[in-house]
Amino acid sequence: MSSCRTTCQSHCSRSDGAQDFNESSIPIQNISIAAEPPTSNGLPAPCSKCGAEERFYGSMCAVCFRGHVFGKFKLAVTNNAMISPSDNLLVAFSGGHASRVALQFIHEMQYKAFTSWVASKSQALPVFGVGVAFVDERVASNQPSCEVDKAIEEIKLIVSDLAPVQKELHILPIESICSLGSNDGKSKLNGLLETITDTTGREDFLHFLRMLSLQKIALERGYNKLVLGSCTSAIARHIISATVKGRGYSLPADFQYVDVRWEIPVVLPLRDCLAQELSMVCHLDGLKTQKLLDRPCVGINALVSSFVTRLQDENPSRESTILRTAEKLKPFHFNKFSKNGYHDFLPSRLRSKFQNVKDDSSTKEVLCPICGSPLDESDLQNLIKKQENYQESIDYFISQCCQSCHFQILPKNEVPLVQFYALLPQPFTQRVNINSLRDQIKDCLISDDDDLDDYS
């Protein structure tokens, strides 16, 4: 086993050969191809940054390349005030390259803060805490149970190797979000999935369940932020698939650095890193990942993924360009930390950047209870039209769903629709707050006698 070239403190081992990574389904070619061709005199070109070492990836040597990727992560964290000393972060780990690197980089930041704390006389600034979450989806996939168990054992090993600041690993079966204390989660989840006939809708619904599961772990275990390893490549695919599903209005909500729609805010520190870069970091550091838990896409998502892969093969900056286009769309008010005093932990030179950030509650959006997307104008108009006459909670729920969830997730016929609603986990149904909804739209409601008290 060769030693890791970097000082990551995780006692990692270098794996043999190139690895396929699973989070964006892009294979790593022979590593020597990733570096640029030799100079005209036949000698290997030196690194464009340090000028000393041989090029490893693009125009950079291995050390500079790793520094470059870590630099992007660090910049995202700093510029968006993602991590404060008092935070308790939950890192979502799927087994893939991107979340492995997210875990690694967060671990390195924590270790550095820990070292400073140990060395400091006053030890006034605490060190942020880190936990790891894994959602066990075997019930909803075709993977043999023994293989998943084996993969989980490897994940436990990965997390326990992140010394010296130990991190707790939380494993939650995805079906547990469907059950209320009883052991019927699996049958409830399967019953729920059976009512969704659209393949893409079913896959997207599982994604929403996964997010809720992560939120559940964070809430129950006292974490105050959720870190996802979403990278440029995954986000580029999401941008195209959201466009294709008619979600253009809500799209900017999903890929900003910060998302405080959820009870536990979500941060994306690897947003500016390409999947291939993250795979390279895993290879360089010998970071173990889990191919067994690969989740190949289906339906529309699979088509979009192969389309973007083809585009990226033709032009290596395509994924970045897609993200750059979407970055020009206006984010929502919940795409920033805006609580008073939140930014006090920052150095003053950075604090001033956030001083004009206001909590703009007046522009509160109505969110779809299934996917959490802000409703666009026509969905809102439909909502206003329908809500006047409803009595049942199921009707309120359905009227608040966005057109995309209406099409691809909600069953069309009454019997499966009632079954779907009955089996739906509470975190979904709780999102429809009838009174709060009325308050937001009451100025658009017209009654016979104009007495709005009748509606409460």
Partner: protein
């Protein structure tokens, strides 16, 4: 079809039209997969276009309207349907056909014959403008000079201006083109892929150029290409159905193939892309190009010289790359550097703006 619970058609049982419930279903509607008879298909197809025209206030009574006519299925169906709806619903429009002769032997000369037949079949006067007369170059000559990599850029830019000039000569107040939902969806995707937020914000407008001399509109904005083909087929309309002989290298084909695959899985995805495009939250502070006029020809332009003059200047001086790609110092210059050696250049097809 993607995992839906669509019923299988019963062989030999003869389904009834799901709209009129009387006549036998003759086709599955591409947009909605409803099984309907021919007559009901004509009705829903024409009514949807009529609704688009009315809801978006595309025309005013008495307007003189040029129909961009290439002889292809979109413009032939457009001419047929528009003259039919004009009669049926009394739009009060003065319609005529406007064609552009790019000078592509074996393609355009054949399709122009189709337009000449349409002139007689639909009783609409025809005006033809040619690249040779306007610019001194045919597409055949341009391709000979520059090859097949950026020819669509030249053609699209020149055609846009040619249509405007032809419409102006004929004193038209409006220009309609046969751009359909598939074209719109492709353009939205291409502008996302290219990082062109300015075009992305404009490309879903059903009417464009309202601040210019000749506004142009797209009554087929929500009409599926497959339904246009189906309409032309059942109505036995006369159109020219061959692809431009210079088109195989067009970058747009990439997005077109993706959309065809999408449509197979989920037909409504085409309209969903348009919906997304219409609803993108594009900040008002996003820098948009300033509209001015070309110093040489007076055509609308955001630069000193319009794109057509820049390209023409390059052609006449033997500089075929002039005006192709983006100049250094602008946004996304790094993106273009990557494209240098790529076989698929991310150069805009000029038709994106049409």
């Amino acid at each position: 079809m993607e995992g839906s619970d669509g019923k299988k058609s019963r062989r030999g049982a003869g389904r009834v039209c799901s709209i009129c419930n009387e006549r036998k279903a003759a086709l599955k509607r591409p947009k909605t997969l409803e099984q309907i008879c021919r007559e009901c298909f004509y009705t829903v197809f024409e009514d949807e276009i009529h609704r688009t025209i009315v809801d978006n206030h595309l025309f005013k009574p008495g307007e003189r309207v040029a129909i961009g006519a290439s002889g292809g299925k979109d413009s032939t169906v457009l001419a047929y349907v528009l003259s039919e709806l004009n009669r049926r619903h009394n739009y009060g429009l003065d319609l005529f056909l406007l064609s552009v002769d790019e000078g592509i032997t074996g393609y355009r000369d054949d399709s122009l014959e189709t337009v000449k037949r349409n002139e007689i079949q639909y009783g609409l006067p025809l005006k033809i403008v040619s690249y040779k007369t306007l610019y001194g170059w045919t597409m055949d000559e341009i391709v000979k000079a520059i090859g097949l990599k950026n020819n669509c850029t030249f053609c699209g830019v020149f055609r846009r201006q040619a249509l405007d000039r032809g419409a102006a000569v004929m004193k038209a107040e409006k220009l309609v083109t046969g751009h359909n939902a598939d074209d719109m969806a492709e353009t939205i995707l291409l502008n996302i892929l290219r990082g062109d937020i300015a075009r992305l914000s404009r490309c879903t407008f059903i009417t464009t150029g309202e601040d210019g001399p000749i506004p142009r509109c797209k009554p087929f904005k929500y009409t599926y290409e497959k339904e246009i083909v189906m309409y032309a087929y059942f109505k036995k309309l006369d159109y020219f159905s061959t692809e431009c002989i210079y088109s195989p290298n067009a970058y747009r084909g990439f997005a077109r193939e993706f959309i065809k695959d999408l449509e197979r899985i989920r037909p409504r995805a085409i309209l969903d892309i348009i919906r997304s495009g219409e609803n993108f939250r594009i900040s008002s502070s996003t820098k948009m190009p300033e509209q001015g006029t070309c110093e040489r020809c007076g055509y609308i332009s955001s630069q000193k010289l319009c794109k057509a003059c820049v390209l023409l200047d390059g052609l006449n001086r033997g500089l075929p790359k002039q005006g192709i790609g983006r100049s250094r110092g602008r946004n996304n210059a790094k993106d273009e550097e990557h494209n240098k050696d790529s076989s698929f250049q991310s150069k805009p097809c000029g038709a994106l703006d049409v």
